[in-house]
């Protein structure tokens, strides 16, 4: 059994994990809220995209025959832009409910977002039904490709590339733009940011919206691999949380490195001892936390209070 395809697999998987964890990481590190509704926002993104990509499938028969006649690549492109915006709006609504919990113990935010997750999942079940759905894809990113004698899914390679670009864009935003600086400053010293005349409430709302949009985006990219059903979001909350803890709360690169490590751990155990593949990420977490209690690149955060 050759190792190379499995390493490639692990790296691809790691990038996908990074995409999943991105929005979660942003909200945890900037707002210090553990957003348990992340998975539901992930699912919501995919369902919004379903409306936009396959309007008939979602029961939109009368509204736009003309729209349904557009090439699928165009509808897919539109979905990648519009669906995350829809999820961002939902996220901002959720943030409005969260405001009362700011400055209180992190448990309040945790409980509220947990409740929101249940509500959102039920809403999805009611609106789109409980059955498995299918998100159609443009032909260009569908199908298989042969590389070194092994068949790879084109879509998975596309998804990994997409994840790479998304990680880079978020990094660019946080590190290289004045908005990123304000966001980070807001997390470090909110009083000072307020004193400088910046509307912190609005800032938090926008950050939460961005985190939610990233969750939605991850949903659109991931469901063609995992399948689309109302509770698909449950599958991602635990890995996302684990990656943040492993990488260190508040560390962008920590999360990215942790994602790659988790991807490699799952991919390689999947190849040689499949029954250990899921547990491998937890073993990795135990190993890292034994030596570095705050994760790989972690620093002290409000969550430790």
């Amino acid at each position: 059994m050759t190792l190379l395809p499995h390493i490639l697999n692990g790296l691809t998987l790691g990038l996908l994990f990074a995409l999943i964890a991105l929005g979660f990481m942003l909200i945890v590190s900037v707002m210090e809220v553990i957003n348990l509704a992340h998975g539901s926002l992930f699912a919501l993104g995919a369902y919004f995209a379903l409306w936009l990509i396959a309007p008939e499938l979602a029961g939109f028969t009368e509204v736009a025959d003309a729209y349904a006649g557009l090439p699928i690549a165009l509808r897919y492109g539109l979905a990648l832009v519009i669906a995350p915006l829809g999820v961002a709006a939902v996220g901002m609504g959720l943030e409005a409910c969260l405001r009362r919990t700011y400055g209180k113990a992190p448990l309040y935010g945790l409980l509220l977002t947990f409740g929101a997750a249940l509500v959102l999942e039920e809403v999805i079940r009611t609106v789109w039904g409980p059955t498995e759905q299918h998100l159609p894809l443009p032909d260009a990113i569908n199908g298989a490709t042969l590389f070194a004698g092994i068949i790879y899914s084109k879509y998975k390679l596309y998804a990994a590339g997409f994840a790479l670009v998304a990680v880079f864009c978020v990094w660019l935003f946080l590190e290289k733009t004045p908005y990123g600086a304000i966001v980070k400053a807001g997390a470090h010293d909110s009083e000072m940011v307020r004193a400088l005349g910046i509307d912190l409430g609005r800032l938090r709302m926008l950050v939460f919206g961005l985190g939610a949009a990233l969750a939605g985006l991850a949903g659109i990219v991931m469901v063609p691999i995992w399948g689309l059903r109302p509770h698909v979001g449950i599958d991602i909350v635990i890995p996302a949380f684990l990656i943040i803890v492993l990488g260190g709360v508040g560390s962008f690169w920590g999360a990215v490195v942790a994602s790659i490590l988790v991807g490699l751990a799952v991919g390689l155990t999947g190849a040689y001892a499949t029954e250990w593949s899921l547990i491998s990420m937890y073993l990795l977490l135990i190993l890292v936390l034994t030596f570095r209690a705050r994760g790989l690149f972690g620093r002290k955060s409000i969550l430790e209070n």
């Binding site: 299918h134 298989a144 068949i151 084109k154 995992w226 399948g227 991919g267 029954e275």
Partner: protein, 429 residues
């Protein structure tokens, strides 16, 4: 705020009333005096999943039971009593299944329990049911252990099991596709049972198992497994992967275009899991116990009745899960009517060995309930994706049907040790 003190007299009176009430109406297995002597409605507990991995199949199962009950109620109920139902979500979780069963029997005084998709949940429910003597119909869970080591006097298993499907498929597949097999197995009871059955059959027909990979429950990424499949290059992959894991796997196999080669033998394919999906997701050969387009008398009428009863359901035609829920419930109620009593032992004796005609069950062969294992012996169908169809609901192409005695799970007869009638609490409600 004034508080009324509890006097000795009121305490004694209260206790007296409680004791008398409990004797008369209480949940004691042998003394449900009030219930037995009245013509109060007959209550049936529905133990189907409404959340978790099998929520969707659970709903379909429940619709089947409710249609059968509705048909009886329209004809005056059973034994002249109206049938009422109470449903509590078993959450695809065995611990919840036990709790729900206990409550439905002890507090709600249900005469019978019906419903299951997950074998773990079914096993948990049946242990509680046996303790109380309450007849339980496992409608849709298909682990061979349900009618083998986990069988019970009160439990009747209505679905075909992993061994039945493997028997129907293995010999055929060895002849058609080749002798080198790889097993992809979900790492829990149903997966292991099914893979053990397949392994035994492959060995006995001269095939070789080249590798087996165990898939942990909750796996979403199958790429490393699929790379292994490519590297092992078997002739046939026999997959026993269920629920959401199976959905993710199917999607990824379809994306890789690996559905044609190697040949895939997927154990059973439940209709609610595939309804509405593109046909390339339905790769390989898979089993089922019933299909809505079987060319048999009564099928079209049954489909019409389903559509009339459930005009708003997203699933426009009934599938195997609905079918099992329906036929199981109908047969139980017929037995109660024939027995002229709800006495559990009398009904159990009628169910054991019961013969059901092919026409009545809308299958190709007569079916019967094996008295030694309590599993329904029925026709097993193999199907593939129905490529080129214009009807989006007509997803399966039935490729074969096998008579029950050819696919019987003979190992279950050795493993199943039913409790004696004397050890099973008797009741009437």
């Amino acid at each position: 705020m004034s508080q009324k003190p509890i006097t000795r007299r009121s305490l004694l009176t209260g206790s007296g009333v409680l004791v008398a009430g409990a004797t008369f109406m209480g949940p004691w297995a042998h003394t449900r005096v009030y219930a037995a002597m009245s013509d109060k409605p007959l209550k049936i507990g529905l133990t189907s999943d409404a959340s978790g991995q099998y929520a969707n199949s659970g709903a379909s199962d429940r619709r089947g039971m409710l249609m059968a009950i509705d048909e009886f109620n329209q004809n005056g109920g059973v034994l002249g009593r109206k049938i009422e139902t109470i449903h509590i979500d078993t959450e695809t979780t065995p611990a919840t299944g036990s709790r729900v069963a206990e409550r439905l029997i002890s507090r709600e005084e249900c005469a019978f329990l019906i419903g299951a998709v997950s074998s773990g949940v079914a096993n948990a429910i049946s242990q509680v049911a046996q303790k109380h003597g309450t007849i339980y119909l496992n409608t849709n869970s298909s682990s061979p252990s349900e009618s083998g080591e986990n069988c019970h006097r009160v439990k009747f298993v209505w679905d075909g099991n992993g061994t039945n499907f493997a028997k129907a498929a293995v010999r055929n597949a060895i002849d058609s596709f080749g002798k080198n097999w790889m097993l992809v197995t979900n790492d829990y009871v149903w997966g292991h049972d099914t893979s053990a059955a397949t392994r035994k059959l492959v060995d006995s027909y001269g095939g070789t198992i080249v590798d087996e990979v165990l898939v942990p429950q909750g796996t979403r990424d199958f790429s490393s497994i699929l790379v292994n499949v490519q590297q092992a290059a078997p002739d046939v992959v026999a997959a026993a992967v269920g629920g959401d894991d199976q959905k993710a796997m199917r999607q990824q196999v379809a994306q890789l275009g690996m559905g044609e080669k190697p040949a895939w033998i997927n154990n059973q394919q439940d209709w609610p899991d595939v309804y509405g999906l593109p046909l390339d997701n339905l790769f390989g050969v898979f089993g089922t116990t019933w299909y809505w387009k079987l060319d048999l008398p009564g099928v079209a009428d049954f489909v019409k009745r389903y559509q009339t009863q459930y005009p708003d359901t997203a699933m426009r035609v009934p599938g195997n899960v609905f079918y099992n829920g329906y036929v199981a419930t109908r047969e139980l109620l017929r037995c109660v009517e024939e027995a002229g009593t709800t006495n559990n032992i009398a009904v159990i004796k009628l169910l054991e060995g019961r013969k059901m005609s092919a026409e009545d069950r809308m299958q190709h062969n007569d079916a019967w309930i094996d008295p030694a294992t309590h599993q329904v012996q029925q026709t097993i169908y193999l199907a593939t994706a129905n490529e080129g169809t214009a009807d989006p609901d007509d997803m399966f192409k039935i490729v074969s049907h096998t008579a029950p005695d050819t696919v019987a799970d003979t190992a279950a007869q050795d493993e199943c040790k039913l409790e004696s009638y004397e050890d099973t609490p008797s009741y009437e409600v």
